[in-house]
Amino acid sequence: MSFPWAEQYKPKHPLMRWFDDRLPLPRLVYGAVGGGYPVPRNLNYMWNFGVLAGLALTLQIVTGIVLAMHYNSNADTAFNSVEHIMRDVNQGWFLRYAHSNGASFFFIVTYLHIFRGIFYGSYKAPREMVWMLGLVIFLLMMATAFMGYVLPWGQMSFWGAKVITGLFGAIPLVGESVQHWLLGGFAPDQPTLTRFFSLHYLLPFVIAGVIILHIWALHIPGSNNPTGVDVKSPQDTVPFHPYYTAKDGFGAGVAMIFLAIMIFFLPNLLGHPVNYVPANPLSTPSHIVPEWYFWPFYAILRAFTSDFILPAKLWGVLAMFSSILLLFFLPWLDKSPVRSGSYRPMFRIFFWIWIVDVLVLGICGGKPAEEPWVMISEVATAYYFAFFLIILPILSMVERTKPLPNSISESVLHGEAAEAAPADLTGATPAQA
């Protein structure tokens, strides 16, 4: 995979040679994350977040398996079993807080990872498959996180399950049947809880499988880089180990500090107090919201308030799902041959507006469904879709990009001064310079 100058695995110790001849696992590791994987030498810290997401998944699986040893997926005892974990199980409070804050950590690093990919054009050819597999992981993450949040069987768990499955109820004709099929009844109850627990345990391993495909697909062209210019020669790369193991290790250390602060000092900051009230099918909490990482999508859902040909409810659901499914088409919506936003002055402005737009949607999603939040959500939703469906296709045609460096090593060694001719906008392969 990757480049012809990649180092071959040459075990020195006879035992490793013996092992490698029979099972080339050391060779696989060496070529994937060792000295045998050449990586552009100019990656910045935004390239840490893929590894951090992998770390987050590992943390979630480890703490999750341990929590499952004490959790009880019975509607009568689920809530108490979580309190049992918090009060009775040795260090159970730590394990549960690590798991609940670990979910937020997972989403934070994944969002930064996605933003990085959009800014630096990592979704463009030849990395479309990497991008789409990443979106599949993102969708699986959202499903897993949602079902995990239902398991404590508190008020937010119960009403979250009711509202989110209610989204499927908006589908014309079959909606209600689908909702009842998902819940295993007319409202969330024992069948819902048991199947959500089963799937919540299963999906992380599916995610791990798709991550393997994601990395496999990535290692064929190799990593993108902040210039977006293709790797051309051995001078443009350094071996993954020790250069990026060290850099990722440092990033992981910093990230763990933030996670530890959350777990030990602010464990409930991102949660909802009302979820410490046991589920009650007869009383909806006055203000129900999903977890923060769903807020932008929740705002899009609620931005549609009047019927227009189709019912408003259906518009909201369609818009919410489209806001993610749209991203699958991003490599073909943005046809600009320049990958990196650093060389796209117009794109860069609209990109940062889009980032602010997503943050605004996030704020709106966490607020009650009343003015001015609904109106702001509507405007922000309009920009969200306009960015992908109107702005990016037009920019691809009209934007005058800045000159790209001839190579990664030139950009690293000589800086901006020695940059070469403008990017080839006549339709040649992207970012060849």
Binding site: V62, V66, M69, H70, H84, R87, D88, V89, N90, Q91, G92, F94, L95, G249, G253, M256
Partner: protein, 189 residues
Amino acid sequence: MAAVETNEGPAHAVEEDGVRRRDFLNIGAVAFAGVGGAALLYPLVNQMNASADVLALAQIDVDVSAIQPGQAIKTIWRKQPIFIRNLTPAEQASANAVDVSTLRDPQTLAERTKEGHRNWLITLGVCTHLGCVPLGAAEGETRGEYGGYFCPCHGSVYDTAARIRKGPAPRNLEVPEYSFTSATAVRIG
């Protein structure tokens, strides 16, 4: 310190003792990560130990007033059977008649009961061989050839002091920690 800082560069990368700064950083960083990983292992392992609610049930009070001489009851302590047996004078005498030095696990009846309550034999109902529940505590069950308990799984025979006399079990039935809180009330654990 300032002088050291200004001396940095390729020519000074290797210190006089042949150790580079980078070696120090490398060992320091990996050691720190190793200690952190080991610290994380502690809760992951310890969570499988008995939790606080299990430990809270580790002590029970039993009323033994209704147990007649010659009778025994089974009760449960820490999810394990406990035999409480009111020994008849004949059973006590037969236990005391044994030459302790001939036993596999030498103990006298006095060592296995409490002062002033010599007739109360309180043991775990768990065979010391492989953990089955021996017969002999309930009405109608065989008590084996030594009149104590008999384990049907692999044929271990216990006497009236619940000492191992025959069969594969290595030790006498275990006597739990207990005390009499009154003449007829026992606190086990």
